[in-house]
Symmetry: C2
Subunit: 250 residues, 2 copies
């Protein structure tokens, strides 16, 4: 079956003839939603009644911050997280198939990027349902912009492999792609392991490679530190338990 999703913002809004699965970004830090996304997103948050969310509690809090007058008790939430069986995702779209708008909300940032939200989008497209990505904060994009590293070629790796030998092999591959393909490498880590990761990178990567660490992006304690591995290995730092993203480039 060809998978078509031809979405036209203007006609959507005027005719209301076709239900849409909105991909609604969430702030990365403790700031007002309207300060990190277009006002249009707040209108969507006000109008949608059916949500697919990574975490119900944080999604409710986000909606309340969008507009305190939103009546949360009127809304339906289904959970799509890392524990969800992909086979269960299609039926989450029942309200959409019945002609009602829905929105996907991730724990932080843009749904479908570095989260399981893509499963909902894929299921919608396969059923010919309308999908509309909305603009908002992404730690991947903001950190790439802030790093000054190559933004013409880059790769996001998610989490590095947990096993030490596999992780070391992957880091070697990534270093190869920096040098041979001019490709910036981007990855994340569980916040309580940030310091350990930086120490490991400092010990094992070539000294001339640059590591950029961005933490609390868009927040009041936002910090962007770019320096060579040699410099990191002589520096003191503390990113313990602070959401951070890591970028490597030559």
């Amino acid at each position: 079956m060809p998978i078509f999703a031809i979405v036209n913002i203007t006609t959507e809004k005027i005719s209301g003839s076709r239900a849409t699965l909105y991909l609604l970004p969430v702030p990365l830090s403790d700031v007002a939603p309207a300060s990190v996304m277009p006002e249009h997103n707040i209108d969507i948050a006000r109008s949608v009644k059916h949500f697919i969310v990574e975490n119900v509690r944080s999604a409710r809090r986000f909606l309340k911050r969008c507009d305190p007058s939103i009546d949360i008790s009127e809304l339906s939430f289904v959970v799509l997280d890392e524990h969800t069986d992909p086979a269960d995702v299609a039926e989450m779209l029942a309200p959409l198939a019945d002609g009602m708008d829905m929105a996907v909300i991730s724990e932080a940032g843009c749904p479908g990027v570095a989260d399981p939200g893509a499963l909902a989008v894929d299921a919608a497209l396969r059923r010919g349902l309308g999908v509309q990505p909305l603009i908002g904060p992404s730690s991947i994009l903001l950190s790439l912009m802030a790093s000054g590293f190559n933004g013409q070629k880059f790769a996001f790796e998610g989490y590095l492999p947990h096993d030490t030998a596999t992780r070391q092999r992957r880091l070697k591959e990534m270093t190869g792609r920096i040098n041979r393909e001019d490709q910036t490498q981007i990855f994340i880590e569980t916040p309580y392991r940030n310091n350990r990761l930086i120490a490991e990178l400092s010990k094992t990567l070539p000294g001339s490679i640059r590591l950029c660490v961005c933490s609390d992006l868009t927040g009041v304690n936002q910090k962007i530190v770019c320096q060579t591995i040699s410099e990191w290995s002589r520096s003191s730092y503390n990113f313990d338990k602070i959401p951070a993203i890591f970028l490597l480039y030559k």
Copy 2:
């Protein structure tokens, strides 16, 4: 020299003690700037007097659309584009070094991503100057969200190599990364070559690979088409001269 850029939005705005290089996104389509970015960006567009831009004409038009009362004749523009000698970039930052805010504006989308703007950021960080990425539309991110493809691992390739044999080799490598690494592959093409590229992909890639083409993202003619290579090879399509972005996944 360690390269530090510790940027704190709140203190920046309150104290004004430190000049900032803002990375100011531009709409991807013919829409009002405020419809695709936070109101905060419009405030920045109003306040900054010194710009590093990919194209002076489109940057002026963007600023006028942000606020028609902006007096363009008061502003300074220097060009940073694909023809700029990287050695010339550092001196473009003179106003910033003198304590005046500056902004980088790309032809479309987010500066520093898929454009030469990263050179200005890199030069600023190396001099210890403040950098602030702002939130706005990115065709890479929006298309990844809209595709339903893997957003937990992906690579942006820029333009594919021009030479046919090299391009074919690269596509083979990319197909390998889709299958072995579960990595979505994203790339762009000069709009008048879109149809030719899709025809070539249809002929040479494995039939089961999925190709998503997103065109006029955020615009009134936004179109998102996701189908397998086999389906593309049996479809009629026309993306001639329309800005589009291409994604491959299994």
